[in-house]
């Protein structure tokens, strides 16, 4: 009797754990899309602050092209799996997070840009260096979270 109750409780706990894992994995996928959107918005915002108008226009054009590519990718099953289907999760916290991420990245990109411009004056394109640093940090955070999700699932 005790053994059967333990089995039932363990089975129910396994159902809860599996559901929470699915939900968290979906949130992770959705967050990737949020990050990509935030990066595009941040790049567009920082492009407006660039002193070089030609370069600013180029960055804005790149953002628009990347945004369009993302919209096309979301229509394919593979793209939807990587970036998340639109509207699967309507987490209010995620929308707030998206806004905060846009603002934080919008503020961070010009700051990193200035720092790298000061540090590497005359050596290559500081905007590229700043972009690589910000993008690298985002990818590292994404990978770390993915690893944590996999560890939780194991």
């Amino acid at each position: 009797m005790e053994q059967r109750q333990e089995d039932d409780a363990q089975r129910a706990l396994a159902v809860v754990a599996a559901s929470q894992r699915r939900s968290r994995a979906a949130l992770h996928v959705q967050l990737r899309l949020t990050i990509v959107r935030a990066v595009l918005v941040a790049a567009a915002l920082s492009a407006a602050a660039l002193p070089d108008r030609g370069l600013g226009a180029l960055v804005l054009l790149s953002c628009a092209l990347l945004g369009a590519a993302l919209l096309v990718a979301l229509q394919t099953p593979r793209g939807a799996a990587v970036f998340g289907r639109q509207g699967v999760l309507r987490a209010r916290s995620l929308r707030r997070g998206e806004l905060l991420a846009c603002l934080a990245l919008g503020a961070a990109v010009p700051v990193v840009h200035r720092i790298t411009m000061a540090a590497a004056s005359g050596t290559g394109e500081p905007v590229v260096v700043a972009g690589v640093i910000v993008f690298g940090a985002i990818v590292a955070a994404d990978l770390a979270w993915n690893r944590r999700l996999r560890r939780d699932a194991a």
């Binding site: 053994q3 109750q5 129910a12 699915r22 939900s23 999760l89 995620l94």
Partner: protein, 124 residues
């Protein structure tokens, strides 16, 4: 399930695996789209509708209908009562599992104190 009456915090409504899966899924998010819940739980539209309506009547869940473009959509959300009930239920399940794990299991051959030793001879 044989868990009925085992713990006061166990919610009878959540003893059903499908309803438990739905609430656990919603417990980790704010709003979830109906097809996502259906696919994750592995059930049909009608079965999910039935279970969602049951949970909504009990005050554990709330639904919202809307449109994305021209396509009608339904979203599900766990209410604060639902969240509280789910965490109480999960805690109760953990307690049962821990209590059972703490109780030493007797081997089938080992005689219990109430069991006469002579019976053991005839058991083989």
């Amino acid at each position: 399930m044989s868990l009925v009456g085992r713990d006061d915090d166990l919610q009878p409504l959540l003893l059903d695996p499908t309803r438990l899966a739905i609430t656990a899924l919603l417990g980790s998010a704010t709003w979830l789209e109906f097809p996502f819940v259906r696919d994750a739980v592995g059930t049909s539209d009608s079965a999910l509708s039935k279970q969602a309506a049951l949970l909504e009547r009990a005050g554990l869940l709330t639904t919202r209908k809307g449109y994305i473009g021209k396509r009608p959509r339904t979203w599900l959300q766990l209410t604060s009562t639902g969240r509280a009930m789910l965490s109480a239920h999960v805690e109760a399940l953990r307690r049962i599992a821990e209590r059972a794990a703490a109780t030493p299991l007797r081997s089938p051959r080992e005689p219990t104190p109430s069991q006469p030793e002579t019976l053991d001879k005839f058991a083989h």
